[in-house]
Each structure stands twice: as structure tokens, then as C-alpha cells.
Symmetry: C2
Subunit: 153 residues, 2 copies
Amino acid sequence: MDNPEPDLVPTCLAGLPSWLITRTAVRAGRLVSDGLAAVDARGYHFRLLATLDEFGPASQAALGRRSGIHVSDVVAALNELAEREFVTRSPDPADRRRNVVTITAAGRRQLRRLEKRLAAVQDELLAPLSPDERADLTRLLSRVLAHHNRPPA
Amino acid sequence: MDNPEPDLVPTCLAGLPSWLITRTAVRAGRLVSDGLAAVDARGYHFRLLATLDEFGPASQAALGRRSGIHVSDVVAALNELAEREFVTRSPDPADRRRNVVTITAAGRRQLRRLEKRLAAVQDELLAPLSPDERADLTRLLSRVLAHHNRPPA
DNA sequence: CGGATCTCAGATACACTGACATAA
DNA sequence: CTTATGTCAGTGTATCTGAGATCC
């Protein structure tokens, strides 16, 4: 539903943080999807490539933990990335259960493209906010997220 | 993925507003789902009941526009609500294409239950934020959302 | 006719669950 | 024996697309 006629949205919903967050996430998700689709990629691809670029070669399980992608989905996403030769998968000689996943030069180039797209998306998403306000929003969300990542006890 | 080991998350992701928003939305969505599931309901039910409560009886199309739910999904959600007698569907004598959907007394009681659950969820979700910060977050998200609901031109 | 409404069938993306074989 | 890994098949939710029938 694209234009829910702003003034008609129930006030009871409009003030609910959980509603605001999920609705904004829908917008963000669409912008991200569209931006990445233009380069024939999707969110999981960016997350995996970015993680590989920052931490270097890793097993699929480690990759999943760092990028927040379920191991079982890492498999499928890596299949797609390997097919396009953005990553290579080779058995780990030190632990024969593992695959060592490595980003290729082409993968790094693709990552740069995706980063560019995503930078534009952030700007479009946060258009109505000043730089200070964007920083505030980022800070607040980071704190909320950190809190919910903590209590694994 | 539940505990992505905070300090291992790529900084390149951790600073991306679109990532923060969608990740937070996942948390929020889980909390909401769990909270509503305890009363055998889901997000669509609350949105529809709240919209009916605030605007009164309406056609399914109008309901969809106001609550931001796709008309095609309104059908299914109303089936579930009607089955539990939280709403009634009756043909509109003035326009025979339409159903007039009305919330029942039981529906209103259910809505109160859902509101209570959701209030608790907001508190859990925003636990690390002060009241002022919660208001800031709400304000910032509202502005972002308003901006993206505007340009239907 | 064009346009709105209701309905159903299906598709997508993301996240998650359960099971299995293999190997540490 | 227990745990970790990779893989596959399947679930669930929120969203959207497309089609058809009905009616304005």
C-alpha cells in the first residue's frame, strides 16, 4: 500500500513506535531492493560481500554470525554469488567440515557498486532530515539494537 | 540470527541507516508478533480493528488504504476476524460492490487487549531509551515516513 | 466504456526451523 | 558423546502482482 493518505492513518497507529519502525523499514527495504536490483543483487549479497571485505576469508558459519544471516540462507546466497564469481568456496584444509569463502576481485568491484547504490539510497531515505538529525536517528537505533543484541544470557 | 556478536558486525553495515532500521524492525516485529500471538492475533488484526474503531464502519478498500494493508490481504485478515466475530461484513445497499465492515463489541474488547499487549511491547523495544529519547525517535521516524508518503505526484 | 471493488492464486524477500551427514 | 559445519526442505510473515467477476 503505497499512499495511505497520511491524514487518514489512525492516530492510534501513527504514534506507535513499533508501527513507525516497521513502516519505515518497509520503505527502506523497497529503496534498498530497487537500488540493488538495478545491479542484479539483493540485500544478502551486499551483507556477505561487505563482511568478507572487512574481515577477510571466513567459514560460512562465521559469515552468517557476522552478517546476521541464518547459516541456512548463507548457503543459498553464496551459491548465487559463486555462480557470478564474486566469491570462491574452497575446502578448509585445517577443518574439513568448513568451506573457506573468499571474495574475488570481481566481487570487490561489485561491492563498490553496491556501496554506491546504497549511499544514494540512504540519502533518499533520510531526505527530510538534517545531518544532525540523521546522526541522532542512527545513534538512537544503534542503542536500541545494542540493547536487544545483548541479553543472550 | 539472534546474537550476531555485536563487535563482529562489519562497521560498514553498523553505520548504515537502512540496515539499522530494518534490523530494528525485525526485533520490533518479533516482539509484536509474540505479544499478539499470546491473544491469538497478528499485526493485521490490530491494524484493522484500530482503524475500524477510529473511523467507524468502512468498505474493505477504504480500510486497506487507511491501515496500509493491501486490499487483497484485507480479505484474508477480515475472514479471520469475522470467523471470531470481531467484525461483521454486510453488503452496502448504496453500492453493491462494497462490503460494509463493522467492528463488534467483542471486537472492541479484543482491540483493548491488543492495545495493552502492544503498550508493553513498546516499552520492551525502547527499554534503553529515556522518555525524551523515545519522543525524539518517534518524531524523526514520523518525519521520514511523512516525506515518503507525500510525493504521490 | 473506464474505473472501483472484492476475491483468489501465486510470487518475492527475509527470517527462521528441523533434519541430516560429516567431521572436530 | 557432544558440538560445529554445511546442506536441504519447509514454515511464516508482510508485501505485492495479476487475474477475474461484479458493479458504478
